[in-house]
């Protein structure tokens, strides 16, 4: 092995890579832009939609209630509702979004309030339609406050305290540190993204440096130089690995910033901002776990692409590989899939699972060592195969 030759090959491949618009887009532009664009697009779209839905006073229709004037008056008095006159086609009006909701007051509702039995007011709405759901919520809260008023009046009439019906209150309080909160909400997602993007980042350079060279006729040129095939494959491998790492680093950085921004923008039900900051230590740990996987991807993709004679042929070989990576990466994101000693030996799935734990600040060192070591073994085997393939004439000169 000659380090100078490896360095010369790597430098040349890097220079060519930086000049290739196609690979630069997949390695740098996509990971840098995809998250900010997706997340800011999602936030601005949802905030505009939700804002609009919340601002508009919902039109609701009352069905029945002629013999229950009190509840009808209470609803009409609510400034957050606009009660429209009754029409027979109220169901159609809800479905066609002309009104947001309707409420059906049963006959004799007011009388039953005094004497029982308890009656049910049905709220009709359009499931899945955000404005209709908001309208139904408004109607429900309006009815609840009317019910509370009725209870208070009854308690006051009997000289009983208001605490009789609510002897205690409840309050939710988060005690987990911010990075754990952020990790729990996006932890499984971050490992998945690192895995997928470290593969897609490696894919185009792996094709370009193997099948691409064959197609362009430069493979024979380089094989006629004194560089050994070992040094050549290592120089090429280092470039593919660099591309894979660059994509993963850029995507996580971009994702981290985007999520932090999203956390500040989104307000939880309790009125607090959702903290989506990830701990720096966790992010570094995820990278370290991703390193051997990135080596594995780079070597495996290069080996497969080397069999192809053209860029297109290599693409058709590698596209099914995407599924082989996506399926175990997604499996780890599924709720309820937990790390077991057997799963710790399955490449990709193991890294995805351990990343999910690490990002929430949970470090099971035995699993971490087992997964890191096993992925290193797979990576070394893949690299060894890549080196062997580069020495096979039947692969290099396949016709």
């Amino acid at each position: 092995m000659n380090f100078h030759s490896i360095w010369v090959v790597y430098r040349k491949e890097l220079r060519e890579w930086l000049r290739d618009r196609r690979t630069l887009i997949s390695t740098v532009v996509v990971p840098l832009l995809i998250f900010p664009v997706l997340i800011s697009g999602m936030i601005s779209m949802s905030s505009v939609l939700i804002g609009q839905a919340q601002k508009q006073i919902p039109k609701v229709m009352i069905i029945g209630g002629e013999d229950s004037p009190d509840v009808v008056a209470a609803l009409r008095a609510n400034k957050e509702l606009e009660v429209v006159p009754y029409a027979d086609n109220w169901k159609k009006q809800i479905s066609e979004k002309e009104i947001r909701a309707a409420l059906e007051i049963p006959k004799g509702f007011q009388a039953s309030l005094e004497n029982g039995p308890a009656e049910t007011i049905q709220i009709d709405y359009y499931l899945g339609e955000i404005k209709s759901e908001f309208g139904a919520e408004h109607v429900e809260s309006s009815l609840k406050s009317y019910r509370d008023d009725v209870i208070k009046k009854r308690l006051a009439a009997s000289n009983l305290p208001a605490t009789l019906v609510s002897p205690f209150e409840t309050k939710k309080n988060n005690v987990a540190p911010p990075e754990k909160v952020g990790g729990a909400s996006i932890g499984s997602f971050i490992g998945y993204i690192v895995i997928i993007l470290s593969m897609t980042g490696a894919m185009y350079p792996a094709i370009d440096l193997t099948a691409g060279e064959k197609e362009r006729g430069t493979m024979e040129t380089i094989l006629s130089s004194p560089v050994s095939r070992l040094d050549l494959v290592l120089g090429k491998f280092l470039l593919v690995f660099s591309a894979s790492l660059t994509t993963a680093i850029l995507s996580v950085t971009s994702m981290g910033i985007s999520f932090a921004y999203m956390g500040r923008t989104i307000t939880t039900n309790s009125g607090n901002h959702l903290d989506m900051n990830l701990g720096l230590a966790s992010v570094i740990a995820v990278f370290l776990m991703g390193l051997p996987l990135s080596i594995l991807f780079s070597a495996a993709l290069m080996t497969i692409a080397l069999f192809a004679k053209t860029y297109k042929e290599a693409q058709s070989y590698l596209t099914p590989m995407t599924f082989l990576v996506v399926i175990p990466a997604v499996a780890a994101v599924m709720p309820g899939v937990e790390l077991t000693p057997k799963l710790a030996l399955i490449p990709i799935l193991n890294t995805s699972l351990i990343c999910k734990e690490i990002i929430t600040g949970t470090y099971h060192w035995n699993s971490i060592i087992l997964i890191f070591a096993s992925t290193c073994v797979y990576a070394v085997v893949a690299l060894f195969i890549a080196i062997k393939m580069f020495q096979r004439e039947s692969v290099l000169f396949r016709s």
């Binding site: 100078h4 030759s5 010369v8 090959v9 040349k12 220079r15 060519e16 000049r19 290739d20 362009r216 006729g217 430069t218 024979e220 040129t221 094989l223 006629s224 130089s225 004194p226 560089v227 050994s228 004439e393 039947s394 000169f397």
Partner: protein
């Protein structure tokens, strides 16, 4: 000096079984000489030249170039060889100068020597006006000059040319032929394959006619003309190959 000693190469083909592309090819080419390897497509010329350039490993036999065995010291052989064929393309995203620099560095030249050598070659081949232009933006002639500069950068004593003028226009082909003649004048050992008999007439001191992977005839051009009582080289090849055609077709 090139000495091919019973050089053989077989390939395994799924449909056709074992294919003997080159069988027991033996010849010698001395410094200051041009050895022309002639034969039809598929005769075994490219495989022979690729084995000499150590791009392919012989199945049996060997060759010695500048004292180095192609099987035992392939890297040392390559350091002494300049290999040029129509299949040896340029890296499209490198400039002409970067392309030549890359091969100079792979050949172990230090930076001051490399710079001096590039300046020398670029001036000699009149390449200074496009040295910073990317290879994918070069004309065919410019590309061919860059390829020549690439093979020359480490000043190898042996040059191997595999059909170097195939598909080139007249002017570019002339540049290549002139360059091969220059190499001979500098005392380099040269082997080249071609289909163009005017090039053989103009350049070759010795020729070898290869067919079905075997060297069927060898000698100087005047010797072959005298032996076959034929001036036209194409006719000589037909006469040499003719008796073997029936066998090779089977």
């Amino acid at each position: 000096m090139i000495e091919a000693r019973a050089l053989s190469k077989s390939f395994q083909d799924k449909k056709r079984g074992i294919i003997r592309a080159v069988e027991n090819v033996t010849f010698t080419c001395r410094p200051g000489q041009i050895y022309g390897l002639l034969g039809a497509n598929g005769a075994g010329k490219t495989t022979t030249l690729r084995m000499l350039a150590t791009i392919l490993e012989p199945t049996s036999g060997t060759a010695v170039l500048c004292g180095y065995d192609v099987v035992e010291h392939p890297e040392k052989v390559r350091a002494n060889v300049g290999f040029l064929s129509t299949a040896t393309a340029l890296y499209p995203r490198l400039t002409a100068q970067e392309m030549v620099e890359y091969f100079g560095r792979l050949n172990g030249l230090d930076e001051p020597t490399l710079k001096k050598r590039i300046d020398e070659i670029f001036t000699r081949l009149d390449m200074n006006n496009f040295r910073d232009r990317r290879c994918d933006k070069l004309s065919t002639g410019m590309k061919q000059k860059t390829s020549i500069a690439r093979t020359l950068v480490h000043n190898p004593p042996v040059m191997i040319f595999d059909e170097p003028t195939t598909g080139l226009d007249v002017m570019t082909a002339r540049t290549i032929i002139g360059f091969i003649a220059d190499c001979r004048d500098q005392g380099k050992t040269i082997i080249f394959s071609t289909h163009i008999m005017s090039e053989v007439d103009r350049l070759c001191d010795h020729v070898g006619i290869i067919h079905g992977g075997q060297l069927r005839e060898e000698g100087t051009v005047p010797e072959l003309r005298a032996k076959y009582a034929e001036h036209n080289l194409e006719e000589i090849i037909v006469k040499v190959v003719g008796p073997h055609l029936a066998n090779s077709e089977v």
